[in-house]
Symmetry: C2
Subunit: 227 residues, 2 copies
């Protein structure tokens, strides 16, 4: 960041803010919306942070994305969900999604790292009260885990809808951070007798394990064979 | 939690507190130290939460464990590390580690879930200033990513040590949360024509990609072939 001008963002990018410009490795930060969406859409578990009694709380939870909005859900009795009640002004949150793509082993301990792609979203989460938006959000949450699944499951009934709280978080103050490539060793370390390189890390799906009491004739759906 | 007695913990377990007893799915919570260590040791990226200007911040970062202590590190210039400076009383943090083991597809949208194992640690992080402890911590951080690696890399020199801040967080207020097993559908949903079951999720390592400029005769080390 140079000079004192407020940061500007190209079309299709989030505007950097004081909170989304990292204090280090600023060259790894990105604000491109397509990249952010791609990272978000590849995951389904985020880490949700909020403040309770002045102290931070970080919990893993599922999420879905619809356009420029994230949806998170939980029991209406759960703490963060209660804290976003309609009557209050919302809950300040930070949501983080991270994918590890590789272990970076340098000749020096100092330059060890991981290749990763992460997204951090800052904002105020609010409860979704509109029934239509709530249904859209719940479908998005299911489809985020397995694309196409929401059309092949019984939708929530009135009792289940009432027991589920959904919160939304607009994608506004957002950054991605990405490390790719190989090892960054110091030139004088290159002759050292240590192996150096990258170990790729992948998430893979095993063979689906069907429940033993499926209704007669129910086969493995196509959307599971392409996972 | 029953009655007004303070919670007691069996040997080998963390004492539950108000912050570590979940408001929902309390049956999934566990305080067993061995289980907590196992979950922590299987990962190397945690999500670190802290409060800045009253708002939560959640960032992915590497960690290592030595006994009942977690170590995190970063540039001395990074925000959370600066906030744990020696002069101040430490930084209230929450550290979360999560492994996803399976996608749980129920016949009803409502009962969709994931199988997972997670650990949440609350506490106050403090900078490590003792040089010996700092070296131990940095070795632990490297060995957490690849066991055995710290003995096969050039240790940090004085300049690198000075540029690296290490913080410690005692494992004291800790809980694990685990979901395993199959689908929990409502009995009346069992005849529905939807596939139900669990899709296992695994993290796997690809073939290590060596740097092109390894010193002559440097081979792939054994500790990488067993990943």
């Amino acid at each position: 960041m140079q000079g004192t001008q407020p940061p500007t963002s190209p079309p299709g990018a989030y505007t950097p803010t004081d909170r989304t410009v990292p204090t280090r490795s600023a060259d790894r930060a990105a604000y491109d919306k397509e990249l952010v969406h791609e990272i978000l859409d590849e995951g389904y578990v985020c880490h949700l942070g909020y403040v309770r009694d002045g102290a931070p709380v970080v919990l893993p939870t599922l999420y879905g994305r619809v356009g420029e909005r994230l949806y998170l859900h939980g029991s209406t009795g759960s703490r963060p969900l209660r804290m976003t009640g309609v009557a209050d002004p919302g809950l300040a949150v930070c949501v983080s999604v991270t994918h590890v793509d590789g272990l970076v082993l340098a000749r020096s301990a100092f330059h060890h790292s991981v290749n990763y792609r992460s997204v951090v979203v800052h904002g105020v989460a609010r409860q979704v009260t509109d029934p239509e938006e709530k249904r859209t959000a719940l479908d998005a949450l299911v489809d985020h885990v397995v694309p196409g699944r929401s059309r092949d499951a019984r939708p929530a009934n009135a009792k289940e809808l009432a027991a589920t709280a959904v919160i939304r978080l607009d994608l506004d103050e957002v950054s991605a951070k990405v490390r790719t490539g190989g090892v960054n060793d110091e030139p004088e370390d290159l002759p050292l007798p240590h192996w150096a390189g990258v170990v790729p890390v992948h998430t893979v799906y095993g063979t689906p394990l069907a429940e033993s009491d499926l209704a007669p004739g129910v086969a493995l759906p196509d959307y599971l064979t392409v996972l």
